[in-house]
Symmetry: C2
Subunit: 340 residues, 2 copies
DNA sequence: TCGTCATGTGAGATCGATCTCACATCCGAA
DNA sequence: TTCGGATGTGAGATCGATCTCACATGACGA
């Protein structure tokens, strides 16, 4: 199939030197006569020589490839991060291999297993589970450089880049409370995803600090897909004495809530106030626009890539844990409640 | 860094056989004694042996990796396709390396150049340019299996999976005409992207077939980003005698149009009717929902992957060109024009 | 009893780049 | 004049898996 392939041997022959000398000339190390070097470089150019990265990798034990395992590449959040990581890696002549775990721990295990035998240089992971992580610990034990994003793993000492989920959620709920709401629904994720738990904690802490009793019946658990969120929303708002406001833990759920509320004929913010975690392009297209807790997405990918590249370059320092603050973007989906 | 690494040699030693025999036992070829085979397999299992794919690749000349070069991984259209391709490849133990061209021919050239030296097995491309494609032809000449998606390249004989851009655009404009519109604006792309040209042709052909004269002043050229589309929309609708309807050639432009029209205080469909090419999740969240020409996105990725895998398996048949039909999804963004 | 063939196994070559040696020069210093 | 160092270069080993070839057995028909 793939024929051709000018090897170093061809170049060496063309320049009438040994392979060793050709390698020295092309990679400029060791002693090489000026004239010889020129001859080699000229020959390489003429033949269109390109080093075989696989052969290099066999010797060095590493391909210039970094593996990225996001929860779901279709999620715009991860797509953006993937793009940023790739752009950053490319500057350092590395490629990005993307393998989506689809938020499935078993698949995540399989993927890492298969990426391991590829002699990949390092990993950027958004672990699906905060607890079932033996496979990741194992990977780390073998010495593979790892950077975690969006979520962390217990007992794993490595660089991580996450956002302040608890604080962001708290700020969102604080905002609803300050607008007079005290029956605030929560649409959350049933998975053991790290972020979902932190956001739940933020919700609870906010209510606690305002002396509002936690009401389990206001918390609806769902999968993180638009369809499930629609159902969960409808269930939540079909009860008597329904909430006056809703906080959703991610953008897919926010979209589901939007559709669910619309199908029930409930208008935002007149009937229900809404705040979502994670900004999304749709949020400014609705009427009213949706108030959200925004994450600094554009900073996550580049920083994660930077951390990993530093590790690949051999930097030996204690793991760095960066937690970006979130930002409440007030738009029009929250109304003030008057009296009661 | 990466230590460990149980090699075939270790397994062979543990099983007290030569490397050759160990290889035979593990890959089941040639003659191996039953008992010996068992001993090798047991040893491999016990040591946790994993074949080094890089070493295999050096011999075979090919890594189990397929390169995907989309226009932009952040575009949900490509993100979905990437996901589908990856899922399909994974069934055949292949990995997907994604390198976004960002709709830039030069970057596309660089990427292909760098992927080439990786001994990648095949490529799935969405070429940025329909004409500047010498680098792709070169790749094909070297024998690399290629499947084109979304866009084709002149003079390149290889499998392709695209949609009926001309027909879809024609149907959209036909629909506007059938609702009484005859001043129909077009928001198009200035790039030489294949799809943009075909969609333009569909627009022109529809008008032609209805005896409506082409009015260049109704065509606004812009880049394919939301921001540029906003500007272009505002320019288009700032003229006197503005169009009564607008057709946009991709989802980013449709979003831009939405924002642009809103900022001008023009309501849909009362003041302006709108049809966009490419469905997008936002389209059902707006009020009214947007009428679009939908592409069968879920079929493109799997089919492209299937084609490529067949080529990798050595299938030698004439290139296949699949062109999926589009589907007009009527929602609420088009109003009937009465009289004139 | 002697080939012939089926069956098993190992030594060594191979893929391409790189690195370690060993071996040449040639210089200036002792 | 001789020795040590700086400078250049090539032969061969190495990375890990696989494949070819040669060499063993043992069985079986002639």
């Amino acid at each position: 199939m793939t024929q051709k392939g000018i090897t170093l041997k061809d170049v060496a022959a063309a320049a009438k030197v040994s392979r060793a000398t050709a390698a020295r000339a092309l990679n400029s190390y060791g002693y090489v006569g000026d004239e010889t070097a020129l001859r080699v470089i000229e020959a390489a150019e003429r033949l269109g020589y390109r080093a075989n990265l696989v052969a290099q990798a066999l010797r060095s034990g590493q391909l210039p490839i970094v593996g990225f395992v996001p929860g779901d590449i279709q999620n715009p959040f991860f797509a953006r991060i993937a793009h940023d990581i790739e752009a950053e890696l490319r500057k350092h002549r590395h490629n990005l291999l993307i393998a989506s775990s689809e938020e499935n721990v078993e698949q995540e295990k399989d993927l890492l297993e298969s990426l391991r035998s590829l002699s990949i240089r390092g990993f950027i992971l958004a672990p699906t589970s905060a607890t079932d992580s033996e496979h990741i610990l194992q990977l780390a034990r073998e010495g593979a450089p790892i950077v975690l994003i969006d979520r962390v793993v217990q007992d794993l000492q490595c660089d991580s880049v996450v956002v302040d989920n608890e604080g962001g959620a708290r700020e969102a709920v604080d905002y609803l409370v300050s607008n007079g709401h005290d029956r605030i629904g929560l649409l959350r994720d049933d998975s053991r995803i790290f972020t979902a738990q932190e956001r739940l904690a933020g919700y609870q802490n906010s209510l606690l600090s305002h002396g509002i009793a936690l009401d389990e019946s206001l918390i609806s658990v769902s999968h993180s897909t638009v369809e499930h969120a629609v159902d969960a929303t409808i269930r939540l708002f079909s009860r008597r004495n329904r909430p006056t406001a809703l906080f959703t833990v991610d953008s897919l759920m926010t979209q589901g809530a939007l559709l669910g509320l619309r199908s029930m004929g409930l208008s935002i913010p007149h009937d229900v106030s809404l705040v979502g975690f994670d900004d999304f392009n749709l949020a400014t297209f609705t009427d009213p626009q949706i108030t959200v807790v925004a994450q600094p997405i554009s900073e996550i990918g580049p920083l994660a890539a930077k951390f990993l590249l530093e590790r690949l370059a051999g930097k030996k320092i204690a793991p760095r844990h960066v937690r970006f603050p979130t930002r409440l973007i007030v738009r029009g989906s929250v109304a003030q409640i008057h009296g009661r």
